[in-house]
């Protein structure tokens, strides 16, 4: 069972925290700090898992993590299963982190840290389709992306989170703005333009 999923950056600032077991608020923050300390000390070429810190349950739990550019993705899993069973759990969770990141990538089109910062709620919704109640729900990336897309569309049709009045929205939509380029290519410089939704 997955106890927690944490995403934080190289300085320990949380980008997404999801606990599947109750922890008091201040304890949650302490756990994030502790996990960050444990994980940031690791060299990039050592294996991707270690024992949990004392706050989260010590050696009964394993932290499985992957470091992508400026972000750490950490899964904290229950390792009360037998020794041999742990390894496949670890491997599967490493793959799962990978799947999760790839899904984020697909949803956000080349995801970067800024996307996670500004779309915290969307990231939660994507995660909800991947892991539920501490257990892996769906592993097929296309399925996940598809389902998230449909739900996002429903939200959009209602006016979205900002709940801006419908008239204003349609007014903006009807304006003739020049097409915003996705990629700017100047010689051999390639700048990717982040995709910000209209709200």
């Amino acid at each position: 069972m997955i106890k927690a999923i944490l995403i934080f950056n190289n300085h320990g600032k949380p980008r997404l925290i999801r606990f599947y077991q109750y922890f008091a608020e201040d304890l949650q923050q302490q756990i994030i700090r502790e996990t960050f300390h444990l994980v940031s000390k690791r060299d990039d070429n050592v294996c991707n898992f270690l024992e949990g810190g004392s706050l989260i349950g010590g050696s009964d739990y394993k932290l499985i993590y992957r470091h992508y550019a400026t972000l750490y993705f950490v899964f904290c899993v229950d390792s009360s299963e037998s020794e041999l069973g742990i390894l496949d759990l670890i491997q599967v969770n490493i793959i799962q982190t990978h799947v999760f990141v790839e899904t984020l990538d697909k949803c956000f089109e080349n995801v970067c840290e800024l996307d996670l910062i500004f779309h915290m709620d969307k990231v939660h919704y994507i995660l909800q389709e991947v892991v539920m109640g501490g257990m892996v729900l769906e592993t097929n990336m296309n399925e996940i992306v598809g389902q998230v897309e449909l739900q996002n569309r429903m939200e959009k049709s209602e006016g979205g989170l900002s709940a801006a009045p419908a008239r204003a929205v349609s007014a903006v939509k009807n304006m003739n703005l020049p097409e915003i380029p996705r990629n700017i290519n100047i010689g051999d410089i390639n700048i990717k333009v982040p995709s910000l939704s209209p709200f």
Partner: protein, 732 residues
């Protein structure tokens, strides 16, 4: 009131903060704005406010005042509201707060909503943080959704059911009918979560387990399809089709197949197939392989080569599992091959593995060694390659092993000696080698082993051992071993003088341990020279096989090395009678028959009137020496008997340097007070008295062994006797 700012605005603002204090200020301001907005019961912007609240919560700021707002959002009709409301509930609420129960009705309605995504939200929330009460109320709805044909909902319902079962185990029965055709689904998501549900049920109830055994063929079929079917881009991870599902199914098969032959049979083929087809060069492959191996050990043997290859993998965790698995796989048939691989691994692995690997090798070798010679060779190999990583407790175990393989002594000691000549830095090797040289030094020089050349010069051996004593590489423990070995050689080699010299030098060593040994060995040379030969035998046999008694004899923790050292110590202190028994060999005086005269005894004021007076008139004169025992009971401790001996001499010459010693069985404790003098005057002109106090808490029959030494007419005399017939009143 202006519209509350958007989430993105808030985030942007907070990111401009340069200090923690600035951030806190911004957040507090925004919280105040949100609170007033909540007070106004504004439906339009509630979702926006809650989103901001969740963001602030993630940064670590309190957000509990938003809990009720989440509930209002959940009750709203808009999907957007419900979405953020349920998320807020999952992040901010938990079953400890009574507020959460208010959700129950909303969730119930939403579980029956027309939009599947709303139903999905409700299932998700229930499955994450549903309390037992909620689960009890809503289990029926979940069960209904478990039977739906909508795969999106079905997979969520399955995991929700798992949560319900964990919270309220009694409800497990309820989900049984719904599981009937879970496995006939095509959708992998549903299959995956169904297998999880089945696994949970089987783990919790043996009845369920038996019930679901009939699913084994179906599971096997699914697994087969996964492997046989061609490339499926949707489910492919690193070339393997849906590894997650494969792993889950394998785990369930393992549980179902446990101690059931029929099921295991059905599984065997497919397991072998999975193993063969799975390429293990990738993480994913290994993820599948390991639960597989738990399931069937025979299949495992077929993949020994794979596992052995994993020993060379770069990933540390894989190497460790492969090592553990390899040891589990070793048996009488493959020991030679496996050991070769494992020793190769030992040579090249990281230091963190060496200790465990070495211990594993020793264990495996002990269990399955095809021949003693192979065994010794293997041990030698480990000691020479990973000698410094071998665990401390391996040394005594190894020594015991070597002792037991009697016919290999000569060969072993030769090889160990040669190894010592090469390298004295690895302490366990040096310790074992010194011990063996001490024990079997004579075999070393006598040339009993046909293969090796006998060491020509005994001095060479002593040179090596002395070298160990002075080397900086030797730890104090090792020095102890080599000093003892040198001492033992004094009975095997003839160069006693040289050994005496070495031993006396260390009598003033700074190392207390070494000094103590040297002093005692010196004493052995001086006073108990006749004992030296006997002790040689004791050290090998009795103490090593003595078992538990070792613990109270052992002062230094070096169990195997007790032999000479502690035995000397004890002999000089006369603690345990058992050892004297072991030594045997000396003349034991006749057992004394005693009469019980009613001679009035001395002293008192104590319990004498109750016990009467007791005395034991000692033995018939042994060469004119007579020993008499008188008894008193001590007050206040009735467990202590006070015995006074009176030694008198009927011969015409004095007995000088008289020493009386006594030993009692283990359950007693003995205290000898100072004698009145150490001369027994001739012709009964006087006697020596000495008081013995005996503590007898268990009220056992008192027995005593006594030893008398004295000088008579210039010659030393020694007598041993056993006294068994103490009158019962003296010890009861």
């Amino acid at each position: 009131m202006p519209a509350p700012i958007r989430l993105r605005e808030l985030i942007r603002t907070i990111r401009t903060a340069r200090t923690q204090a600035e951030e806190r200020e911004m957040i507090q301001k925004e919280c105040a704005a949100i609170r007033s907005s909540f007070r106004e019961e504004d439906n339009t912007y509630r979702c926006r406010n809650v989103a901001k609240l969740l963001y602030m919560h993630m940064l670590g700021y309190p957000a509990h005042f938003g809990q009720l707002e989440c509930l209002k959002l959940i009750a709203s009709q808009k999907f957007t509201d419900k979405r953020i409301g349920y998320l807020g509930a999952m992040l901010l609420l938990d079953e400890r707060q009574d507020v959460h129960l208010l959700m129950t009705n909303c969730i119930k309605n939403d579980l029956n909503h027309s939009t599947q995504y709303v139903q999905g939200l409700a299932l998700c929330t229930l499955g994450c943080m549903g309390s037992s009460e909620m689960c009890r109320d809503l289990a029926g709805e979940v069960e209904k959704l478990l039977k739906t044909s909508n795969s999106y909902l079905r997979k969520k319902a399955a995991l929700c059911a798992v949560h319900v079962i964990r919270k309220v185990p009694e409800l497990m029965e309820m989900f049984l009918p719904a599981t009937k055709n879970l496995l006939s689904e095509k959708n992998h998501g549903v299959l995956h979560t169904s297998v999880v549900l089945l696994t949970e049920m089987c783990e919790r109830s043996p009845d369920m387990l038996t019930h679901f055994r009939k699913l084994v063929p179906q599971l096997v079929r699914i697994l087969k399809n996964l492997i046989m079917s061609g490339y499926s881009p949707e489910h492919d991870v690193s070339g393997i089709s849906d590894p997650f599902l494969q792993v889950r199914i394998l785990r369930l098969l393992r549980i179902l197949g446990k101690s059931d032959d029929d099921s295991s049979e059905a599984m065997n083929d497919i397991l072998a197939q999975v193993a063969t087809n799975t390429e293990t060069s990738k993480n994913v492959g290994n993820a599948i392989l390991f639960p597989l191996l738990q399931t069937d050990h025979n299949a495992v043997q077929r993949h020994r080569s794979t596992i052995v290859d994993c020993l060379k993998d770069l990933d540390v965790s894989i190497k460790r599992r492969a090592m553990e698995l390899s040891f589990a796989l070793v048996n009488g048939n493959n020991i030679r091959g496996m050991m070769k691989e494992l020793l190769y691994f030992l040579d090249s692995c990281d230091p963190e593995f060496k200790a465990d690997c070495a211990s594993g090798v020793f264990l495996a070798a002990e269990k399955y060694a095809p021949s003693k010679r192979w065994h010794i060779d293997t041990i030698m190999r480990v000691l020479t390659t990973a000698g410094s990583y071998v665990r401390d407790d391996s040394v005594p175990n190894l020594i015991q092993l070597i002792t037991n393989s009697v016919e290999m002594h000569a060969y072993t000691v030769q090889r160990l000696y040669k190894a010592l000549l090469d390298d004295i830095s690895q302490q366990p090797l040096v310790q074992v080698a010194s011990w063996c040289i001490g024990e079997y030094g004579d075999l070393l020089v006598s040339g009993q082993c046909e293969e090796e050349e006998p060491i020509q010069v005994k001095d060479e051996v002593l040179d090596v051992l002395e070298g160990l004593l002075v080397s900086n590489l030797s730890t104090p423990v090792t020095r102890g071993y080599s000093l003892t070995a040198i001492m033992k050689l004094s009975t095997r080699f003839s160069s006693v003088n040289r050994i005496k010299k070495v031993v006396s030098i260390y009598g003033s060593s700074i190392d207390v341990e070494l000094q103590q040994r040297a002093v005692e060995y010196n004493a052995l040379f001086k006073k108990y020279d006749h004992m030296r030969y006997e002790l040689r035998w004791c050290s090998t046999h009795s103490l090593l096989t003595g078992g538990r008694t070792r613990s109270h004899l052992n002062e230094t923790g070096l169990v195997a090395n007790l032999g000479l050292h502690s035995l000397t110590f004890m002999y000089l202190q006369l603690c345990a009678n058992d050892l004297l028994d072991l030594l045997g060999g000396h003349d034991v005086g006749p057992v004394i028959q005693t009469a019980l005269p009613t001679k009035p005894a001395s002293a008192g004021g104590e319990l004498l009137d109750l016990l009467g007076d007791l005395s034991l008139s000692g033995m018939p004169s042994m060469n004119g020496l007579k020993i008499e025992f008188t008894f008193e009971r001590s007050n206040p401790n009735p467990n202590i008997s006070v015995i006074t001996i009176h030694a008198s001499n009927t011969t015409e010459a004095d007995m000088t340097d008289f020493v009386f010693q006594a030993a009692v069985p283990k359950t007693f404790q003995l205290q000898l007070l100072s004698p009145s003098s150490n001369v027994v005057p001739a012709l009964n002109q006087g006697n020596i008295t000495q008081v013995i106090r005996v503590l007898n808490p268990q009220k056992q029959q008192l027995r005593m062994r006594i030893k008398l030494t004295y000088t008579y007419k210039g010659a030393p005399v020694q007598d041993l006797a056993e006294v068994n017939n103490f009158p019962p009143q003296s010890w009861q």
